[in-house]
């Protein structure tokens, strides 16, 4: 048993959305509404309670003579987004019930039988991943296929991915693989590839890192995500001051009015 991760490489992604479907089929997640968005070929728009893998499509101007794999021009990026399974996970810390747990594989697993739908994890996620299902009141997100991992199997999305754009494996191996891949792409002339693995912020790294063509922000990946618990210290100090003020004020009000 090792600590695992996803490496999702947009330079290999053909935008087929097999990951979305395989995920929904395996985890028996319902559809996300039948609305046409017209976001290029994306009609699921974002991760949410019923979408745990989401393929984003980013279009730039196409130039005849250059395919999408031409280093000179970034034309059409596709990237399968997923829960990041943060090292310091906002949702996990925030959860008051212990429904969210850290598994032996390093992922963050939301126990559906425990979750009480307090929705605090929803606002605690700096990536906008977790969401409460309004119909039945509990929160849902990517399980990292904890059930499959327990049996030594790959998550459903990584299993299906036709071009192995979604890689799954030991986190250290994949981090090395990501660096190798980045070096390879750089040496092939791709100057606009980015490795998205926020280790520099309070999130402290993730279990789902990405290689993107173009700026990660175009895929709604925040450049500096912070785990909300990093604000706790300030918050509780403030609460202490607030309590002190309340106490002092009240004491003053009662004891300072002796003249009555």
């Amino acid at each position: 048993m090792s600590v695992t991760a996803f490496l999702t490489d947009s330079t290999l992604c053909i935008g087929c959305k097999a990951c979305e479907v395989a995920c929904k089929e395996w985890n028996q997640v319902s559809n996300d509404g039948l609305d046409w968005r017209g976001f290029s070929y994306d009609n699921t728009a974002a991760l949410g309670h019923s979408t745990w893998r989401h393929v984003a499509f980013v279009e730039n101007t196409a130039h005849p003579g250059q395919g999408g794999n031409a280093p000179e021009a970034f034309t059409w990026g596709m990237l399968s987004d997923v829960c990041k399974h943060c090292e310091n996970a906002g949702c996990l810390e925030a959860c008051p019930t212990g429904a969210l747990v850290r598994t032996e594989f390093g992922g963050v697993y939301l126990q559906p039988d425990v979750c009480n739908g307090c929705a605090y994890c929803v606002v605690a996620c700096p990536f906008g991943v977790v969401e409460r299902n309004p119909a039945e009141g509990r929160a849902f997100k990517c399980t990292f296929c904890y059930d499959r991992q327990k049996d030594g199997l790959k998550p459903a999305c990584a299993t299906a991915c036709p071009t192995e754009s979604i890689k799954f494996g030991d986190i250290e191996d994949l981090r090395e693989e990501a660096v190798r891949r980045m070096n390879h792409l750089h040496s092939a002339g791709f100057r606009d590839v980015h490795l998205y693995d926020p280790q520099h912020t309070s999130v402290g790294g993730v279990h789902a890192f990405f290689i993107t063509r173009g700026d990660p922000r175009a895929y709604n990946l925040p450049p500096n995500p912070e785990v909300p618990t990093s604000y706790l210290r300030k918050g509780w100090i403030s609460a202490g001051i607030a309590a002190g003020l309340m106490l002092a004020g009240t004491l003053f009000a009662f004891y300072g009015s002796n003249h009555e």
């Binding site: 290999l12 053909i14 935008g15 087929c16 959305k17 097999a18 979305e20 479907v21 929904k24 089929e25 319902s30 559809n31 996300d32 509404g33 039948l34 609305d35 046409w36 017209g38 290029s40 070929y41 009609n43 699921t44 279009e59 730039n60 101007t61 196409a62 005849p64 003579g65 250059q66 395919g67 999408g68 794999n69 031409a70 034309t75 059409w76 596709m78 036709p162 071009t163 192995e164």
Partner: protein, 870 residues
């Protein structure tokens, strides 16, 4: 697949998906492989990551382009100009793989003096009969080849039957100039023929800049030779044209010149769109062939004796010399003991063809009220077939219709909720058609095999029972046949002799009495009649009625009881031997004798596959040799030799009487021995290459009031229309629009247009647009994207509008069907329709609904339609 069949000998992909990973360059054209064969595309990605260059030539920048190194947009329908220019580039710059070309292709063969090329006849080949609107192909024969009888009459039928090269001429008889210098040799004729396919023409007709053309030409051609190979992948983006077969021919010529056939990482991969579409031509549900590409007999010429029929279709040299063994064995498996030498093995129980009985052919008859009953199994012509408006209206003329499906498709309910009903063209109360809709079993609810795109038979096991009254087609056909045979028994009549004789004894199992599918597969594999022992392969088949075989090319799939090779799941090597069964004889890369030099040694260490083992005196390698294993490379056939023995040791294309890959096809094609560019039946431009001719003269337009055409060009319909598929849906949607997890991914019909056209017409992204052709009118959401480029053709801007065709009026997500817009038309060889290049108009705003839609269409037709503005 006459494009591949006439060129190489067999109508199937020459290579396998895995082998693409060995290519040094891959040209994908006429296909969005990443979208429609995503899992197969992993091998392209693998090749790319190993350093191969991926070239995608397509009107749209789609998900395949996004993965490619080079994307070149071209005008839909101009592909032969592009490919012709590549061929011309190879020939002019002598980039051809000369040793390969000289030995393994018919480049050196001399043509008859009366053969005239398009260069001589303004775009026609010799033999055009303007009255009959077809070619008399005699002059295309090799110099010195004897003609067989009735070369002319035969061309009325379908083309699938013509895959056996040379059934019209003795193509093993020819004269040769091995130096390739003679002006009448194929090589020189080819050079002259393609000389007008210049980069300038590419620029003017395809809208591809010369620099982009050279980029493709240099990239692709530099990836061939002894050390390198390049592959071509295509799909219906090439086939669904009025000249589809010639398009594939052009690719075949290019690959033969570059020496890419029969070698690892080379070849032409036909990417097929349905689970067993290869299987359904191998074991056809097509009108013009019997299993194993044996031709259906024709009325009159094949009416009488099997001997004449065999004489007509067998060849002296090459594998088709065995034709008699295969037809007799087939008749034995159809009619069993009732088939005897005395009654010509029941040959006269087979029906004779009298014309065009293809889908489009009989549908036109249906529209006239000449068809009473129709079975539709797993197909949805109401929205999936060209001119689907006409298709639907024609079904209202049927007396009865049987549909077998997993869901209630548009075809089953054309009488209830089709646009024609809402537009007032059909009234359910007036429609007499009796409709039976049978629930069908899914793939995990029955067993059987699919033949995939690389000719690989894979057996799928049954997991669960079908729900309710759902049944397999095996069950349906068996129990229907059983009932009919009982009826026949009760009413003896000579008309039913074939039905009475038909062997129909399969073991039934379970409560539902499902026939044993493996017994059917064994029947296909073939047996010895005397002891019922399964044959181990087609070499055991006999012409005297002592063997039976349901499809000779599949023979060997079930070599002994309990050994169903299609069911095998133990791959031994990269090519997958041990996993399933690839026809013929489990060969994974066809014509692989060509992977070795004429002397039998591999062309290079890097590209070795099959070679001659000097010590063991046999062909060996990592694939099953597609060659007689013990025939030495230096074998020279004796004069009187017949069949395979008549082919030398350096003739890799063993199905052909001359044993060579055909740059020039002397017989078997109806619209020319060489590809030539003709404009689509509807085109925005004139044919600049051959100004006397607009479209393929041999193609059938099937013009009629129900199937009208635009002019070429036509002010009323100024834009090029092309249709395509999306990854998220499957064909007309019967297997995807009903599934929530797919429906949500592409929930609405849309239309991709360029920002330029959108601005011209005042169309905003995501707004509704109306699209019209002379055949129909539909609506879609506009997806405005720079991935669609307006093309400059000779100074004129041509816009292309592209439509996915997955929607219909049933399912979780509904929408207009793009096929309402498509014309019925027939390519001359296989009668495929042209869906990839037509003309249309686009109007901003949604379509009028109900009867008003037709008024709107009429206005567009008369050119009076005012464009609605934002």
């Amino acid at each position: 697949m006459p494009g591949l069949g006439t060129s190489f000998g067999r109508g199937g992909a020459t290579t396998s998906l895995q082998d693409l990973s060995h290519a040094d360059a891959i040209l994908i054209m006429g296909s969005s492989m990443a979208e429609n064969h995503p899992v197969g595309f992993q091998w392209v990605i693998e090749a790319r990551e190993r350093g191969a260059k991926i070239i995608h030539v397509d009107p749209r920048f789609n998900r395949t382009s996004a993965m490619s190194d080079i994307w070149v947009p071209l005008r839909a329908g101009s592909d032969i100009v592009f490919l012709g220019a590549l061929i011309n580039y190879v020939l002019q710059n002598e980039k051809d793989f000369r040793e390969y070309v000289a030995h393994y292709t018919n480049a050196s063969i001399l043509l008859r003096d009366d053969f005239k090329d398009t260069e001589d006849l303004d775009g026609f080949f010799s033999g055009w009969d303007p009255e009959k609107q077809q070619y008399e192909t005699e002059s295309w024969a090799y110099r010195g080849a004897r003609l067989k009888k009735d070369i002319y009459k035969r061309s009325k039928g379908g083309g699938h039957a013509q895959d056996r090269g040379g059934e019209k001429i003795q193509a093993n008889e020819f004269e040769q100039d091995k130096t390739l210098k003679d002006p009448r040799c194929v090589y020189q004729v080819l050079k002259r023929h393609f000389s007008r396919y210049t980069p300038e023409m590419v620029e003017r007709l395809c809208g591809v800049s010369q620099s982009d053309f050279y980029k493709v030409a240099e990239t692709f051609c530099s990836a061939s030779g002894p050390e390198k190979t390049a592959a071509i992948c295509y799909a219906v983006g090439w086939t669904q044209h009025s000249k589809g077969v010639q398009l594939i021919r052009a690719a075949a010529i290019l690959q033969l010149l570059l020496g890419n056939i029969g070698r690892p990482g080379g070849g032409i991969l036909a990417l097929r769109g349905h689970a067993s579409i290869q299987g359904s031509t191998d074991i056809p549900t097509l009108y013009d062939i019997l299993p194993g590409y044996l031709p259906m007999p024709y009325f009159e010429e094949d009416s009488d004796s099997i001997t004449e029929y065999i004489q007509e279709h067998k060849t002296d040299a090459g594998w088709w010399a065995n034709f008699d063994r295969y037809i007799v064995s087939l008749l034995k498996s159809y009619y069993g003991h009732a088939a005897t030498a005395a009654n010509e093995f029941g040959f006269n129980w087979l029906p004779r063809l009298t014309g065009d009985h293809s889908h489009i052919g009989y549908w036109i008859e249906m529209a006239k009220g000449n068809v009473e009953g129709l079975f539709v199994m797993g197909q949805n012509p109401a929205v999936g077939a060209p001119n689907s408006r006409m298709e639907r209206k024609a079904m209202a003329k049927l007396k009865w219709l049987v549909v077998r499906e997993m869901v209630e498709t548009e075809t089953a309910t054309f009488w209830l909720d089709s646009p024609e009903v809402s537009r007032g063209e059909l009234r359910p109360e007036d429609i007499e058609t009796e409709v039976f809709l049978f629930p069908a079993a899914g793939h995990v609810e029955k067993e059987g095999c699919f033949t995939n795109t690389q000719r690989l038979n894979q057996f799928h096991e049954k997991a669960i029972d079908p729900p309710g009254d759902a049944r397999s087609e095996t069950w349906f056909m068996y129990h229907l046949g059983r009932r009919l045979k009982e009826k026949s028994k009760a009413n003896p009549n000579p008309d039913n002799a074939g039905l009475d004789a038909l062997t129909w004894d399969y073991t039934l199992a379970g409560e539902i009495r499902e026939p044993n599918v493996e017994e059917v597969l064994q029947e296909i594999n073939g047996r010895s009649v005397v002891d019922g022992k399964l044959v181990s392969g087609y070499k055991e088949l006999k012409n005297d009625g002592s063997t039976s075989c349901g499809c000779w090319i599949y023979s060997g799939i079930f070599p002994s009881a309990g050994e169903n090779l299609a069911r095998k799941r133990e791959p031994r090597d990269f090519l997958g031997h041990g996993w399933g069964f690839a026809w013929p004889a489990d060969r994974r890369i066809l014509y692989n004798r060509a992977s070795a030099r004429p002397d039998g040694a591999p062309w290079s260490e890097r590209k070795k596959l099959v070679w001659w083992d000097m010590e063991k005196k046999k062909w060996t390698g990592t694939d099953v040799p597609d060659f007689t294993a013990t025939k030495a490379p230096d074998y020279v056939p004796p004069k009187a030799a017949q069949g395979d023995d008549a082919l030398g040791g350096d003739r890799p294309f063993i199905m052909q009487p001359e044993g060579m890959g055909r740059l020039f096809v002397p017989s078997g094609l109806r619209d020319g021995p060489l590809p030539a560019h003709y404009e689509p039946l509807e085109s925005p431009v004139h044919n600049e290459l051959y100004p006397r001719l607009e479209s393929d003269p041999a193609a059938k337009r099937l013009d009629s009031p129900q199937n009208p055409y635009a002019n070429s060009p036509d002010e009323r319909f100024p834009y090029v229309l092309s249709t395509y598929r999306l990854t998220e849906h499957h064909t007309a949607g019967g297997m995807s629009r009903y599934l929530s997890h797919l429906a949500e991914l592409q929930p609405e019909m849309f239309c991709e247009i360029s920002p330029q056209l959108a601005a011209e017409l005042g169309i905003r992204n995501r707004s509704f647009v109306t699209i019209a052709t002379p055949r129909g009118i539909i609506e879609a959401r506009a997806l405005v994207t720079s991935r669609i480029k307006p093309l400059k053709l000779d100074g004129k801007t041509v816009h292309q509008v592209t439509l996915p065709y997955h929607w219909g009026y049933k399912g979780l997500v509904k929408g207009s069907s793009a096929n309402d817009l498509i014309a019925l038309s027939q390519e001359p060889n296989v009668r495929i329709m042209e869906t990839k290049a037509l003309l249309c108009n686009v109007l901003p705003g949604p379509m009028e609904h109900g009867p008003k839609a037709l008024e709107e269409l009429a206005q567009v037709m008369t050119g009076h339609k005012e464009r609605r503005q934002e």
